[in-house]
């Protein structure tokens, strides 16, 4: 039972971390302004830029191969004595990672969780799903079906 709740919390956190990682700076900054005064922010790991190897699948067997590297920025912060908020985001925008980590810290705080979930995560999640969906519909017509040609010498 405890295990189930723990894994439920984990997957909920995974969901909001994914949403925050895809959110734009302006979206996060707009929400941050509305929050007003917060406890002192401690940077446990100041925002830092690094590289991440992206892997793809190639060939008929789907063997993994290294597609290339992408810049990624990560950050860990704590508000007052609260929980540790972490963030990873593609790109080199340090402020974006810092804000995402700040929201992760707040979302782990029961006093903030419900409100932020309702006013930040859910709208962003819907918006991101919609963007993904419209992009998918845009490229769908360009899909090419490949057929294997079998030599007809039977």
């Amino acid at each position: 039972m405890t295990n189930n709740t723990a894994s439920g919390e984990l997957s909920a956190r995974r969901t909001w971390l994914a949403v925050l990682a895809r959110a734009s700076l302006s979206e996060l900054e707009a929400k941050r302004v509305l929050l007003g005064e917060l406890p002192a922010l401690q940077q446990v790991r100041p925002p830092e830029v690094g590289m991440l190897m992206l892997r793809g699948r190639v060939g008929g067997t789907g063997n993994p191969f290294n597609l290339g590297e992408a810049s990624v920025v990560r950050c860990a912060v704590r508000l007052g004595n609260g929980a540790l908020g972490v963030a990873y985001a593609l790109g080199r925008d340090k402020r974006r990672a810092e804000l995402a980590a700040l929201f992760d810290a707040l979302l782990q705080d029961p006093a903030w969780h419900d409100e932020l979930q309702r006013t930040l995560i859910e709208p962003l999640q819907a918006q991101q799903a919609q963007a993904r969906d419209s992009r998918r519909r845009e490229v769908a017509p360009s899909k090419v079906e490949f057929f294997t040609l079998v030599r007809g010498d039977a």
């Binding site: 940077q43 446990v44 704590r78 540790l84």
Partner: protein, 199 residues
Amino acid sequence: MSTTTSLAPGLLDEVHETQSAFRALLDALARPGQVNTLAPALPGVALGGAMARLLLTLCDEETPVWWQNADPDLQHWLRFHTGATVAPRPAMASFALLTDVGSAPALADFAAGSAKSPEFSSTLVIELPSLQGGTQTQWRGPGIQEQRRLALPGLSADFWTQWQVNHAAFPQGVDIIFTCAEQLVGLPRTTRVSPPEGV
């Protein structure tokens, strides 16, 4: 969750602070016995300033660290900031942290490297209560013009006998960095230590 609520920050200006720590370490090992001063302790980290900064500078995911006093908070802190794992035995450690050298394992228990790869040896970081006030010793070797006298306290009675064995095993053997709060003293395996003349 308890470990993440107590996780202390690392270096705030990582690039410059690790460079100055590395420089202090180079100086300490190039001039054995000379006292070098690094920066103060890090907030929330229960280690001396020199020791904590050296760890953040030197460790990464390929350097297992052996802890004489295994403190889960500190181990998690180092893992979070550097990726360094915990070495289960002294012989598997790249770095060994000793805070009570009187009851520490023998120097021979740590990795000495092989004749082919002497660099795969352990480096011991030993925190002392002070860098003076112990038994007088006389240090000679590369990096020391004539001789240097030090009186490190708190070492076990046969420590310097063990050190002579370690020195004789050159090129194999361990290197030691003594730290005390923000100060550090290097003792590389090339240094000969003996009681002062006339004693």
